[in-house]
């Protein structure tokens, strides 16, 4: 409570009025939406496909509900948000069962046509199924330690497989690509015609790119290196690192804007073309 009860009352009254107006506007929008939906996608029409029409209406409604967040967080948005999470999870469970667990685990074990087939399945599936079930022990605080056997195997095997492959793909091949233009620039082929037109076109560009990448990498790493005080030359390198970071963030941000707008364009196309049935010109 503030020191001005009258001001509080006025404020509360204004909030109530605003909420009433918003609820009225929401009810009106729902009525408009349903009317438009029934006109453009009437599931009761003679030649209509009811499942498709209802699906389109629900999809359009949920799209508009999700965009209602741009005005303000509201109960309809919360319903849509929870529905999205729930439906995704439900769909994942059904697909995992239908496409993976039933044909590869359940049917070979519980619907085996012969005893020999069952024994064969058991031989191949027993260890992975048991290790998978052990993971569920995480749910229990008392027996959670049992899951460590599965995790130990996963992490040990994962690291063993990943280290050589990742080292090759992310470090060695990247280093080779970074050094290759510089190597080619001083190689015998380049030395034959240095500073010729072909040299500038074929070698100078990649060399310049490689040098910029090298300087940028060192400068950015130095910016995050706090063991040495960033003074004089160090300060200049650090500032150069910030510039490289800003250019990188700018490029990423530009692409992010493009991506988000693409999603909006996709939804607007859906609403106009599929829900409202407005043909594309």
């Amino acid at each position: 409570m503030s020191d001005h009860p009258q001001a509080d009352e006025i404020q509360a009254g204004a909030t109530k009025r605003r909420q009433a107006i918003e609820m009225g506007a929401l009810a009106l929008l729902v009525v408009v939406f349903l009317t438009v939906s029934l006109i453009r996608q009437n599931p009761f029409a003679k030649d209509a496909d009811p499942a498709k029409a209802i699906g389109l209406i629900v999809a359009a409604g949920l799209t508009l509900i999700m965009y209602s967040f741009l005005y303000r967080d509201n109960p309809l948005f919360k319903i849509g948000e929870n529905l999205y999470v729930g439906v995704s999870l439900g769909y994942t469970v059904v697909i995992t069962w239908r496409e993976f667990l039933r044909p590869l685990v359940y049917q070979p074990l519980f619907e085996a046509p012969t005893a020999a087939a069952f024994n064969n399945s058991l031989l191949h599936l027993a260890v992975p199924v048991i290790l998978g079930i052990l993971l569920l022990a995480r749910i229990s605080r008392k027996h959670g330690w049992i899951s460590r056997y599965s995790y130990a195997l996963m992490i040990g095997w994962g690291a063993g497989v990943a280290i050589p492959l990742v080292t090759n793909s992310y470090i060695l091949q990247q280093l080779t690509a970074a050094v290759k233009p510089l190597q080619e620039a001083i190689g015998p082929q380049a030395a034959a015609e240095p500073f010729s037109q072909a040299w500038f076109a074929g070698t100078a560009g990649p060399v310049l790119g490689a040098l910029v990448a090298m300087i940028g990498t060192v400068a950015v790493l130095f910016y995050f290196f706090f063991s040495v005080e960033h003074k004089r030359f160090g300060s200049a390198v650090s500032k150069l690192g910030i510039w490289f970071l800003m250019v990188s963030f700018g490029a990423s941000f530009g692409f992010t804007i493009m991506g988000r707008l693409s999603l909006l364009i996709g939804r607007v196309n859906f609403l106009l073309n599929e829900w409202l049935n407005i043909p594309v010109k």
Binding site: S169, L261, S262, G266, R267
Partner: protein
């Protein structure tokens, strides 16, 4: 620290006005769009040229690593790639390691099959002209397994047909027998496919990704670990243009341009306002 409470009162209003303008720009572009001429990116052209260089009967592997939330950007790419394959007689092998991607992968296959009939007069048959393998979990393990034995990783396709002896998979025993692998990704799977799949199998790889992910692909493109890539809706539009089959990508370009111009104008306007305000405050302070 700026919080919702101490923001200027007009902030919410301005924010909503900007949203309305952006929405209007997209909606107006849907109805009115002047013809735009744009030249495809070199990265996209390289992917197109690679598919174009494949012979009928060659295999192109497509991994669907996106779900419906990224449909706007990646579905047009999937459709264009499949149409290109069917047009050339290349056999696409489609699969997904994500349960939420199964529906959208099947939708892409079905639509491209219908298009092959209506656009190229070809009757495309599952198991003969293309394969939809469906879903298997465990991305890294799955890639490693397919690198050794593709039919062991998928003993049946999505429709329940056995992959052993399948006409479309004749001559394919592992990823090494694939002529080009394309990862259509909205998740961080491109790096996994490079490390566990294509670098190991020694086959060329291309990607189609959301615009957000595109900048991260350049190091792999410059090291030739990727032969090219399709970046965002623009990448899809470029591929459609090269293929000469317009689709959702090209249709989205006028709206992209309109909204980009609007954003640039808003940035310009906000900067002018800021500098003008600073100038006026300085002037008032001096006088």
């Amino acid at each position: 620290m700026t919080t919702n409470q101490n923001r200027p009162r007009h902030y919410e209003l301005v924010r909503r006005i900007i949203y309305v303008f952006i929405a209007l720009a997209v909606i107006v572009s849907y109805f009115y769009h002047p013809k735009q001429d744009f030249s495809p990116w070199i990265e996209v052209r390289k992917v197109y040229d690679k598919v174009e260089s494949l012979s009928p009967g060659d295999h192109l592997f497509i991994s669907i690593d996106y779900d419906p939330s990224s449909e706007a950007e990646l579905y047009p790419m999937c459709l264009s790639l499949l149409r290109h394959c069917f047009k050339k007689g290349v056999i696409p092998i489609v699969m997904t390691p994500w349960p939420t991607s199964v529906g959208i992968a099947k939708k892409g296959c079905d639509e491209a099959v219908d298009d092959a009939n209506s656009m190229f007069g070809k009757k495309v048959v599952s198991g003969k002209d293309y394969v939809f393998l469906g879903f298997r979990p465990g991305v890294q393990n799955l890639i490693l397994k397919m690198g050794d034995n593709l039919k062991g990783a998928f003993d049946k396709d999505y429709y329940g047909q056995s992959t052993q002896g399948m006409e479309a998979l004749a001559g394919v025993s592992s990823l090494r027998d694939i002529k080009l692998l394309v990862d259509l990704a909205a998740m961080g799977t491109v790096e996994l496919w490079i490390a566990y799949g294509t670098d190991r199998a020694g086959i060329p790889m291309a990607t189609g990704t959301t615009a957000v992910m595109t900048p991260d692909l350049y190091p792999f493109y410059q090291s030739n670990q990727l032969i090219g890539f399709l970046g965002g809706l623009r990448g899809a539009a470029d591929y459609e243009k090269l293929l000469k089959i317009p689709g959702r990508g090209e249709r989205g370009m006028p709206a992209q341009s309109a909204t980009h111009v609007l954003i640039l104008l808003l940035i310009l306007g906000a900067n002018i306002r800021m500098f003008a305000g600073r100038f006026l405050r300085k002037k008032e302070g001096l006088s």
